[in-house]
């Protein structure tokens, strides 16, 4: 009898154990597709039998997980109503539609004039959150699946069982069938992360263009993240929704910025010496000292402008940073609480909008995009404010890659102490990474699934000319 090397290995395992499932083989370090191929080969020769069984498995979804931790919306509703919090408009922090729907279904409540009243069954149900308990004990019901609390997955469990004939074969006597066309197992090797590879590539490109790298801290005073960037203190970005405010450490000591704090204040209030009319409001130093997690790497560019000493460094100068930034968002398929941005600034006396367009188009050409355009946009700290778009040949659509512009004089003069032109941009490459790995869910960029890490090819730009 002739058998492949793989089939002999599988047979030998089964001679020791009688039967194994495919996943048990995997635990022993076998590759799943290799075992399947070997199994078919052995079955054909009558040495093993393959048994297949459907197995259903259940796992809590994110919504289910929340019920398990926090309790079901309908039970939380009962508790709140019991506490006297019975106006529907006050209960919006619960998933109110679900809560009301379920509670009514159970006959726990009635609603009158926008107020929720507990009925007798509701009073009784208060005692224990049955759903929460059930999910906690993994006792799932069909209705939980329908409600989206539990994911049901069906998988086929394949068991390989040795036959009598299989037992009797002496593996040592089997003639080896060598197939040069058969695939070998691909070994697991060390590998860098695809997203970091792309960022590393971009970093190289900025250095090819002669840029110097900057660095900066995540926790910064609002002064750097907002005020120095001429973002008024009542700007919606400073609202609680978007920005992480620090509890620890809460405030910065701004004394290192010296008289610049006063200049920034005056610039906001009436334009100071910048030629601007300013925003026209009373600026608060307290708000500027409040620490935040930087919401853009532009805060690092602002810091760099503050640090440039005209006597030490001759203009023009150009700098870049690739760094993490933070937004107070609920994390889901399309939102993360942070993102990576590539910021660049070019500081000089004789720079203009055409130059800005040149740097951006050069960079994206190096990144493999042959078509590129700018369209008007808005940021409080730049003017012309532009959105940078590249043409994606696969999707046949313009993709937004970030923002750019000339820093306003209201930003430059207070920070530098004199007038100069500053070209600036903040770009994102998350979408490039998503495409490289064929991902639909943003969270996968940070989940490190071994299969995705292993199977994603090393990134290179699509169009590779001389750039």
């Amino acid at each position: 009898m002739k058998l492949s090397k793989q089939a002999i290995n599988v047979l030998e395992e089964l001679q020791d154990t009688e039967e194994l499932t495919i996943s048990q083989f995997e635990e022993r370090g076998y590759d799943q597709s290799m075992v399947n191929r070997a199994a078919l080969e052995l079955q054909e020769k009558g040495l093993i039998e393959i048994e297949e069984e459907e197995e259903e498995s259940y796992e809590l979804t994110e919504a289910g997980e929340e019920v398990r931790k926090e309790g079901s919306p309908e039970h939380r509703l009962l508790e709140r109503v019991e506490e006297g919090d019975n106006r529907i408009s006050d209960l919006q922090d619960l998933q109110i539609d679900v809560a009301l729907g379920k509670a009514r279904e159970h006959g726990w409540i009635q609603i009158r004039d926008g107020e929720v009243e507990l009925l007798d069954p509701g009073e009784e149900a208060l005692g224990e959150d049955v759903l929460k308990k059930r999910l906690g004990e993994s006792r799932f019901k069909e209705e939980d699946v329908k409600r989206g609390l539990v994911d049901e997955t069906t998988s086929t469990v394949r068991t390989l069982k040795i036959t009598d004939e299989g037992y009797e074969i002496d593996a040592g006597d089997v003639e080896l069938e060598f197939n040069v066309e058969a695939e070998a197992e691909t070994p697991r090797v060390g590998k860098t992360h695809f997203y970091k590879d792309i960022l590393g590539f971009a970093r190289e490109k900025f250095m090819e263009m002669g840029f110097q790298e900057m660095s900066g801290d995540f926790v910064v005073p609002g002064l750097l993240n907002f005020d120095a960037l001429y973002t008024p203190q009542d700007h919606p970005a400073r609202d609680l929704q978007d920005t992480f405010f620090m509890e620890k450490p809460e405030k910065s000591d701004l004394s290192e910025y010296g008289e610049k704090v006063q200049h920034i204040k005056e610039t906001h209030e009436d334009g100071w010496e910048t030629g601007s009319s300013g925003w026209g409001y009373d600026w608060s130093e307290e708000d500027a000292a409040q620490n935040v997690l930087r919401t853009h790497t532009t805060a690092v560019s602002a810091r760099r402008l503050h640090e440039i000493d005209v006597n030490e460094e001759e203009l023009p100068k150009k700098f870049f940073i690739i760094g993490r930034n933070f937004r107070n968002e609920t994390v889901d398929r399309t939102h993360l609480a942070g993102f990576i941005q590539l910021d660049g600034i070019v500081v000089g006396e004789d720079l203009n909008f055409k130059n800005l367009k040149a740097y951006l188009s050069e960079f994206f050409e190096k990144m493999g995009y042959s078509e590129f355009r700018l369209i008007p946009s808005y940021y409080p700290y730049t003017e012309m404010s532009v959105e940078v778009q590249v043409w994606d040949e696969e999707e046949e659509a313009w993709l937004g890659m970030g923002g750019a512009g000339l820093f306003r004089p209201e930003v430059v003069k207070p920070l530098l102490g004199y007038e100069a032109t500053v070209l600036a941009w903040g770009l994102g490459l998350g979408r490039v990474a998503m495409k490289a790995a064929g991902l639909e869910d943003l969270r996968e960029l940070y989940r490190n699934d071994i299969e995705i890490l292993e199977t994603t090819p090393k990134w290179r730009p699509k169009n590779r000319g001389e750039k």
Binding site: E26, E27, G29, R188, V189, G190, T192, Y195, G200, R203, M207, G210, F211, Q212, E213, S215, D217, F218, V219, D234, P236, F244, F245, M246, E247, P249, S252, G271, T274, G275, S276, S277, N291, L293, P316, K318, F326, N328, A337, G338, V346, N352, F353, K354, N355, S361, E362, R373, P376, S377, Y378, E383, M384, S385, R408, P409, L445, Y446, N448, D449
Partner: protein, 544 residues
Amino acid sequence: MANIEIDKREFDELLGKSIDEEKMIEQGSMLGAHWHSIDGDVCEVETYPNRPDLLSVEGLARAYQGFFGIETGKKEYEADKGDEKVEVDDSVDEVRPHIAGAIVRDLELSKKKINGLIQLQEKLHETMGRRRDKLAIGLHDLEELEPPFTYRAVEPEAVSFKPLEYDKEMQLGEILDEHEKGRKYSWILEDEERYPIIEDSERKVLSFPPIINNQLTEVHSGTSDIFIDVTGKHEETVKKALNILVTALADRGGQIESLEVGGETMPDHSPEKEELDVEYFREVSGLDLSAKEVAERLEKMRFGADAKKRKVEVEVPAYRTDIMHDYDLIEDVVIAHRYDNIEPEMPKVDQLASQKDIEDLADRVRDILTGKGALEANTYYLSSKEKLFEKMDREPEEIAEMSNALTEDYAVVRNWLSPSLFQALHDNRHHSYPQEFFEAEDVVELDDSAVGASNRTKLAYLISGTGIDYTDARKALQVLERDLGVELEVREAERDFMKDGRCAEILLGGEKIGFIGQYSDKVVTNWDLDEPVAGFEVYLDELE
């Protein structure tokens, strides 16, 4: 970004020309407003917060008339001289000091036009108005009212009226407690002892700004004359909002009538006058345009513009809120010139590139540890105390914490990396073993710097699988040590989260820079793992 929905046919009618929808989607963006088709004739238009004058179909049509060259230059708005007045009482100074107002007559309103008007009102509330705090708008059918009007502040129980959407007389305090709008916006009047109202000469309350109007004055399709009030906390903003509303109504054929508000005649349509130096324009934009060409482009953006030899005299329409500096005028000239028509020009900036040492070191570490066989992880910087300390069986430490995090999962900034790598092992439980991860990234530590916290760069490494123990972590550390050419000392130590007798501190030149060990069964179980885990974590920035 604010989005409005408009009817494309209405837009075309106001524009005076029918423009293909595809062309609007393609070219509309070049003005700075993005068009999306919804269905039928409905388009969604996204605008930026610097142009609240584009939040109506009228404002958009006015702007695109210029942009497409259908009608250029500053549009003139004339107000008839009116006799009506709004008296402003000092009592509002403390609570909501500013009011602007105007009357617009002879309107022919339809349901659709009223909806457009309400949309403009709501969007102005949300954007410029900072959710009604900075400004709030009331629109009133004039027919039921007897001017002059009075704007004053009264005690919560002093007056009552039937607010919109509620069929009973309510006092101001009751409205704040019970009415849906009252509850939504009561935060604006928090801690105030008196609340602002507008009433007519017969003491009928028209409005309780910024909360709700009297249902008596609700605008309907038969309304022909409207009284507009804008109240708020910032004088300039209040007046600009009035101008935006009034010009939109005038574009619809309404006749503006002036009103005396607190002794001042409103609306004031007189333009701000600016001078744009053409040489300055050329420096900033890089475009070699003449004064005449600059003026033509400004007119396309609906400014008044008069080209002189070296400068352009500019009249800024009273509804524009965003012209603070010559830079703003320059931007509009370049927009009219179109960004597409700008030729890129690389400047000469002679400079040698440089990178941060720590980034270079991190790159070497990537080479070394991937060569050893580990996968590089990319993980979240934000975490929870549960993951950083509880699950790791480590005493909680003082770390950087946010005050307003939406979820507990992202409420602190991590001060060490190993928990993130445990998360990676946890998420890969279904894949085969052994598994090996590393990451070289920043963490944040509290310190006594001016900010109170600083970034540090760390390196963490974990290996897990059947039979994995301390020795496997030690092997990886030795590869790192050898290939970086550093000499590290490993000295036995104890950590709660490591197995007894399987833990050590890592020292460089006598300074502690990290730890190495095999993790305790408790930690492994906490992360739902079945196989043993060993690893190390060091301050990478100490190895620079």
